[in-house]
Symmetry: C2
Subunit: 386 residues, 2 copies
């Protein structure tokens, strides 16, 4: 809720969680109504006897509960076929008299919008997906309308090839010259840096135009290091690229243990471009299924550039795909050596006859080493396909 | 924090998040100190100028900041080799005079324990792993000692083979007869139900003995349907079993897309029993690498008992393992038919010549269908090995 409110220029002053007790609700509501312009309340709207928010708000606003035919129709629609209608469900159609009632499209608890002294209190269901639905569809637009808040717009850019400090240095002259109305945030995540530009102002066209100007400057500085202008998962970006180019992909994973295949196939429709993968954890599987040569494993070791090159070739051949990614490394916590400490991962991406490799270093714990290797594998594949 | 406090019998009355402003901190602290016996404060202890918790608490408790040699030694130890020591870090060694200072084993911000009118306020760092460390090592034991709270003990049992409602029916007579001091909670999760018994009392030996009695009764009712008496991930349970029996495992995954392999290899040391896996997304890969016969795919389809049986055999053979699991299903949202609606997943587990299969039904969305199929595959393998 806080993030969405910030986006429309409403600052969150305080977050309070309390128990379902009348006197505690009364006191917290009163305290908040004295302090701020907008009070958003969630929860306590269910049909059981520990749900007392609705009655308590009636008491606070000196009103009473009345039966709403419209809300009752909505309750029947939402519960249709799921559970039998009983007196408890019917109580869901009781709403405070002196308030604006907003229907809940995905649940049986309706929303109550109270106003007093030009301040607003909105009571919403506590079930997260119901709260999200009513916030998005009704509450946020109504708040913007009533309080005429600033226009706030965000643009997110996904950047590769940079550690945060080096990127910050490169962007410093541009960042310093940003107009007052535009803010920049760095949100780094395991090999990827998300840059978020936030523009704010009274006029939508002006905010949009200022963002366009700065986006153009940023693109001129970073070029293709910006690999996405939308904040979406890498597996979606790579999947879209494969679909567009009508190519198929496979995976040959050692230390990432199937997690890259799992990420690619987490996307609906991935069977269009993903044929399959081989998780080659043991050297024997690397030899038997990916045809990595015993000499390579003997001379260079399983965690080596030579091995991942042979793995990626083996995957493209065995799984008959246009391109592939391969990983082999020491995810940890055990297994490190002075030459190949924990965190060392060799990564390869291949497309037809071209192969690119990368050595990932520094140990951030098993789970993050694995996730970061997956990010790097997908980024290298994307670079290669571009 | 709330969960850990509940475990030692301390009820959380209110959670308040506020801004780093002196007057807001003063008011919130004063309000809380009037209301409860224990106030736990996190955050605002860093070395930068927006961190004002320490100074503000000094003002509230009418004391001042003094330099602590002991805390300074700890700051130097914690920051050793990471970042150069400067005046800001040195300010971390300034502590309130009238309080008990507790060292932070993993960070530079120390903990301040204030007492007033037999009430306690503890100021802790906001960095989650630092807060967790000081809560576990110092704050919780000191709270228990000071407030002599009840002994609270938990036992968790992981149960398979039951939908929640059927299990509840079966356990009803036992649950109804539970002594006052013992509570039961159902925590279901995608094919697994976690049953948590919580015992509470003044005397540790009595609580333990009551829990032992009820555990014995529960085990008599459910037998081997309790597959773990510890709340640990399935991949750990299966991994331990494989290690104990000195067996190797492989995976043949279609709809789960490598996620079972990724779960098995997320455990350090899994190379002892996991050789590798094949993600057979396309029928071609099922035929070429797992040797599923074209006739089987033709006659029964990829999502069928016959196919997963051949997949599991193919995995044991190609990856040379003692046992294997296989999945093939319609994860969704597309691809369903009247006979095989979205959510249908065939699962097989094999151990030498024995193979067990299971048809998973009902659609809970792509991600949950995949996770649940992984749970079921690992549960069936465990049953088979037992």
């Amino acid at each position: 809720m806080g993030q969405e409110l910030n986006k429309i220029g409403i600052e969150v002053l305080r977050i309070v969680s309390i128990r379902d007790r009348e006197e505690e609700i009364m006191e917290a509501v009163d305290n908040a109504m004295k302090r701020v312009n907008i009070v958003l309340v969630t929860g306590g709207l269910g049909p059981t006897k520990d749900d007392i928010t609705k009655q308590t708000l009636c008491k606070y606003f000196h009103t009473e509960l009345i039966f709403s035919e419209e809300v009752f129709e909505n309750v029947k629609r939402v519960l249709a076929g799921k559970i039998p209608m009983n007196a408890l469900n019917k109580s869901q159609a009781m709403v405070p008299k002196d308030c604006t009632v907003i229907n809940n499209p995905v649940g049986s608890a309706s929303v109550s919008w109270f106003e007093k002294d030009n301040k607003v209190l909105v009571s919403m269901p506590g079930v997260p997906q119901e709260m999200t639905a009513v916030m998005t569809e009704s509450v946020l637009p109504k708040l913007r309308e009533k309080f005429q808040t600033d226009v706030i717009m965000h643009r997110t850019f996904l950047v590769q090839h940079y550690p945060e400090s080096i990127l910050a240095e490169k962007l410093e002259p541009w960042e310093t010259a940003l107009p007052e109305s535009i803010k920049l945030a760095y949100l780094p995540k395991l090999g990827i840096i998300r840059l978020r530009l936030t523009g704010r102002g009274q006029n939508k066209i002006e905010v949009e135009s200022a963002l366009n100007d700065e986006q153009a400057k940023l693109e001129a500085i970073l070029g293709d290091d910006i690999f996405s202008e939308e904040d979406i998962p890498l597996e979606v970006i790579v999947g879209e690229l494969l679909k567009k180019k009508n190519l198929t992909v496979s995976t040959a994973e050692s230390c990432t243990g199937g997690s890259i295949a799992a990420r690619l196939t987490s996307i609906a429709g991935s069977s269009e471009y993903f044929n399959g993968g081989i998780v080659a954890y043991s050297n024997e599987v690397k030899m038997n299924l990916l045809h990595v040569s015993p000499e390579t494993l003997e001379v260079y070791g399983a965690v080596s550039e030579q091995t991942v090159i042979e793995m990626v070739k083996g995957a493209m051949k065995a799984l008959k795909t246009d391109c592939a990614v391969a990983t082999s490394g020491i995810a940890g916590p055990g297994g490190g050596t002075p030459e190949k400490p924990v965190g060392t991962v060799w990564i390869a991406a291949g497309y037809k006859n071209e192969i690119r490799t990368y050595r990932q270093e520094t140990n951030r714990g098993r789970a993050m080493n694995i996730e970061r290797a997956g990010n790097n594998a997908l980024l290298i594949l994307r670079d290669l396909l571009k």
